[in-house]
């Protein structure tokens, strides 16, 4: 890569970066690509991947809102046995804060690379774009996704700071233990808190964690709104028996209508499930080797699975509705060992895209989905719509060979992610959560057993 780009661009310093919230989100940008250009674009992306290993620090400094970037080409795929879905370039990032500043950040730091790659698409304007032009192009080409984060409300800067905080406090507490300090839990906690308060590099941790309430509101208001509408509808149904205004009647229709639509969709889905199951062809050993060869990071790795949907419009509609509902409850979702994940549909809902950034290797990670009864049901809610994935009855009931078909489906549709960036390479989700739990416990009122539990996060 041309090294001048580094000097040409204003580098956002982490210290000045102030997100307006610490909610994690996913940005997905995609454009179509002529198939013959795939090798060229792949070449570029692999080049950037190489640069990344040299300029990791620079990326880290210049992308303060970014946790992960997966950037890949997607070959053409066939939908319903006949329709060709176009090849694409897909750029997916996991970020914290506002979408607008995140896109600005990408355009500022990765502008030349983004332009070089996206200009291979016919969708890219004929004349070169300046930065505002690029930003608005990226905004136009971004599509919604259902996003999950396993370490909610932690900013990239906090990741480093909380790690250091815990390491320093552990050393201090170790010193106390070595001296045979017989303090009670309360006294130990107080000593630690005083240590933090009086330590110039750690004093920041004596302040409250920012955006606590606003983050929750940010994530939960759509669900609250949905619940409110449904509740209002329910109340309106009751009111209908006593009063007669039109608004009440309209409101009273919403809940029954919603239930009716869901039931109707379920019935149609059940009919669709009778179409005989077509399993995915098994991926060749060579192809699997090509994919796993990129999974060499010591802690976090990435997986992209993109599959056309099973035939039938009901699959597309059902999945779209499901993804919306999953999005509503994502605050409460829990997927072990996943840093961030997203699901989305593209090409008029005919493709399901799934990416995850997770701890350790994809082989281990895929097991998280099939090894527990409950979780394999949850997964079926989304993946049973994708071609080659196991057949189900009533969406979640497994059919024969569910597990092996699931594993085959994942591998058969797993794509090589040519470019992958992670802002930190050292901490697992559990590490991140513990570091946060330690910080969150500082200066918090606790009884002795709670303090003992809290000390275990050290």
């Amino acid at each position: 890569m041309d090294c001048n780009w580094q000097t040409n661009f204003f580098i956002l310093s982490k210290n000045f970066y102030q997100p307006m919230s610490t909610v994690h989100k996913g940005l997905t940008i995609t454009v179509t690509l002529d198939e013959e250009k795939i090798p060229y674009v792949n070449g570029l992306l692999f080049e950037y991947r190489k640069d990344l290993s040299i300029y990791q620090e620079k990326y880290h400094k210049s992308l303060p809102s970014t946790f992960f970037i997966s950037w890949l080409t997607l070959p053409a795929q066939t939908y319903a046995g006949k329709e060709k879905l176009p090849a694409r370039i897909i750029l997916m990032s996991s970020y914290v804060g506002s979408k607008s500043s995140h896109i600005q950040e990408l355009a500022t730091f990765l502008g030349p690379q983004i332009k070089q790659v996206l200009s291979q698409s016919r969708e890219y304007p004929k004349n070169d774009l300046d930065k505002p032009g690029l930003v608005s192009f990226l905004k136009r080409k971004s599509i919604p996704n259902t996003f999950y984060s396993g370490f909610k409300f932690i900013s990239t800067t906090e990741v480093d700071k909380e790690k250091k905080l815990k390491a320093e406090v552990w050393k201090y507490a170790q010193g106390l233990a070595d001296q045979g300090d017989p303090s009670s839990p309360k006294e130990v906690k107080e000593k630690i808190e005083n240590f933090v308060k009086n330590h110039p590099q750690l004093v920041w941790a004596s302040k409250k964690i920012p955006y606590g309430l606003s983050n929750k509101v940010h994530m939960l208001w759509p669900l609250a709104l949905f619940g409110l509408v449904m509740l209002t509808s329910l109340v309106s149904i009751v009111l209908c028996f006593f009063i007669d205004p039109l608004v009440i009647k309209i409101l009273a229709c919403i809940l029954p209508l919603f239930i009716l639509v869901v039931v109707f969709l379920f019935l149609l889905l059940r009919l669709n499930e009778n179409i005989s199951h077509e399993p995915s062809p098994e991926l060749s050993d060579e192809k699997v080797r090509e994919i796993v060869a990129l999974e060499t990071n010591p802690v976090i790795n990435e997986m992209t699975v993109i599959a056309p949907l099973k035939r039938g419009w009901i699959r597309r509609v059902f999945l779209a509705l499901t993804l919306k509902l999953v999005g509503l409850v994502s605050y409460f979702a829990y997927i072990p060992t996943v840093h961030t994940a997203r699901w989305l549909q593209m090409d008029k809902g005919k493709r399901l895209v799934f990416i995850a950034n997770f701890d350790n290797l994809s082989e281990a990670y895929a097991h998280d989905f099939v090894d527990s009864e409950r979780r394999s049901m949850n997964m079926a809610v989304i993946f049973s719509h994708a071609f080659g994935f196991p057949a189900t009855r009533w969406l979640v009931h497994k059919q024969y060979n569910h597990r092996s078909n699931y594993m085959k489906g994942v591998r058969a549709h797993q794509k090589v992610t040519q470019f992958w960036y992670t802002c930190q390479q050292d901490l697992s989700v559990e590490n991140l959560k513990r570091n946060r739990a330690f910080r969150a416990g500082l200066y918090k009122e606790m009884d002795d057993p709670e303090i003992k539990d809290w000390l275990l996060t050290l």
Partner: protein, 470 residues
């Protein structure tokens, strides 16, 4: 309940031949495919099956992928084996998964080379019986130019201990189909398909198994594959056998414990924290403060209720990593943890090798022992129907992953590959305690891999098919 075809299953799969205290594992290479097949025809009738209870001697047989390929078995058959078996333990990706790097890298092994085709596992009730069986085998192999590459002798130790002085072979998965009565509560028992091909596994599916297109089984020797009538099931009643020769640095082990402790008792307690059981076998979860001889075979315990935080048995201890039972730190419920952990079990069949440091392997004595230059260790053997899901998963995700269970820089203290470089540090061991966890650092490697391979451990009919294949 399904009945196991014991006549077709090799004996070692369901019993350890513990009464046959002498054993030797012999690694061979074939030199001529036709002769190798005749050799198999000769030796197969001598193989001990699961329906026998040998009192004098036993013989078991296992082949590597290279061995099967050397026999010129049909490509469709060869290709139907799982990828990890085909690639072999020393292939680059497998090395990465298994953590066989640095000191443990295959280039430092004494065996594991690609021309190993066959392993004969010979057991005798005593040394004399073993020797006489070995000399018969020698004559047979010589006449078919089956060349011996390595002999791996074994030696049982006092009170079923391993070389560090801990009681071994306590926790074993029980195959449901071997029980006289179907247990009402299936917890703790496993469907045969987890360990024997041709039967259903924990997912209620037939375990993945190598197959032969029907047309290639002209004599009709093999059973049909339960999922595909056009295929014959070569795997039925067989399994994969994982072999790792692990040298144990006994002196270094106890020296390390001593250096970290004020007295012998705390050195032994520390080593026990690393294992998860006291030297006599009693589990820390049930008796955290001192061993309890009444519990030395205890295996009916969990971690979720008794010890979630690892204050008794550290999360990173050997037994808690290799079988987290009902508590995976990353899971929210005991049920999910139990279901997940159960999918990654293995039947262990290893035997120690080399002379013990002291005859009775008492840690108190071993702490005083003087280092010698004799090699000793464990021939770790496990049997699984899915190498990747069972053995490799445990080795990779639980034993060597330094972030296991929310830990930071800890690989398995006993068998993990311990090192430190720019992007990874794996040589810590942390013991949760009040007021702050104790972290031990700079753990050396207490075990070193000296050799290893993936084998197919076929059923008798499959062996006959291979022997008769033209």
């Amino acid at each position: 309940m399904t009945t196991l075809e014991k006549d077709d299953i090799q004996g070692l799969l369901i019993r350890g031949h513990g009464n046959l205290s002498s054993a030797s594992y012999l690694l061979y290479t074939f030199t001529d495919p036709a002769k190798a097949r005749v050799f198999l025809q000769e030796i197969v009738p001598k193989v001990t099956t699961a329906s026998e209870k040998p009192e004098e001697q036993a013989l078991q047989i296992a082949l590597t992928y290279e061995g099967l390929a050397f026999l010129k078995l049909p490509p469709a058959l060869l290709n139907s084996f799982c990828r990890e078996f085909k690639e072999g333990m020393t292939e680059l990706q497998r090395q990465f998964i298994l953590g066989d790097t640095g000191e443990n890298a295959p280039q430092n092994w004494t065996w594991g080379e690609k021309n190993i085709h066959l392993m004969l596992m010979v057991f005798g009730k005593d040394l004399e019986k073993l020797e006489s069986t070995l000399s018969q085998i020698k004559i047979l192999t010589a006449s078919f130019q089956v060349e011996l590459l390595h002999t791996l002798p074994t030696g049982m130790l006092h009170a079923r201990k391993e070389h560090f002085g801990f009681r071994d072979d306590i926790s074993r998965p029980i195959i449901r189909e071997l029980l006289k009565e179907v247990p009402g509560d299936t917890a703790g028992t496993f469907p045969a398909g987890e360990f024997i091909m041709g039967y259903k596994n924990l997912y209620d599916e037939y375990a993945p198994s190598p197959t032969v297109p029907e047309a290639l089984d002209k004599e009709g020797e093999l059973p049909h594959h339960p999922d595909d009538a056009t295929l014959k099931d070569l795997g039925k009643n067989g399994t994969y056998l994982v072999f790792r020769q692990m040298e144990q640095k006994v002196h270094a082990f106890w020296q390390y414990m001593q250096a970290q402790s004020s007295d012998k008792a705390s050195a032994i307690a520390l080593a026990s924290k690393m294992v998860g059981r006291w030297p006599d076998g009693s589990p820390l979860t049930l008796c955290p403060n001192q061993p309890d001889p009444n519990l030395s075979e205890a295996n009916d315990f969990g971690f979720w209720k008794e010890d979630k935080a690892g204050l008794k048995c550290p999360i990173g201890s050997h037994i808690r990593r290799t079988n987290p039972r009902d508590h995976l730190v990353t899971e929210n419920t005991q049920k999910d943890s139990t279901e997940m952990a159960a999918k990654h079990r293995m039947i262990r069949k290893g035997r120690p090798y080399g002379p013990p440091v002291t005859p009775e392997l008492k840690p108190e004595d071993m702490l005083d022992s003087i280092e010698d230059d004799r090699e000793r260790g464990l021939h770790f053997i496990c049997m699984v129907t899915d190498i990747r899901r069972q053995f490799e998963f445990v080795q990779n995700n639980w034993v060597n992953f330094h972030k296991f269970g929310g830990l930071e820089n800890d690989a398995d203290p006993i068998i993990g590959n311990h090192y430190q470089h720019e992007s990874r540090k794996t040589n810590e061991f942390s013991i949760p305690k009040y007021p702050v966890r104790r972290k031990l650092d700079h753990l050396p490697n207490f075990t070193i891999i000296k050799g290893g391979a993936y084998f197919f451990f076929p059923g008798i009919r499959a062996l006959q098919y291979m022997a008769n294949h033209d």
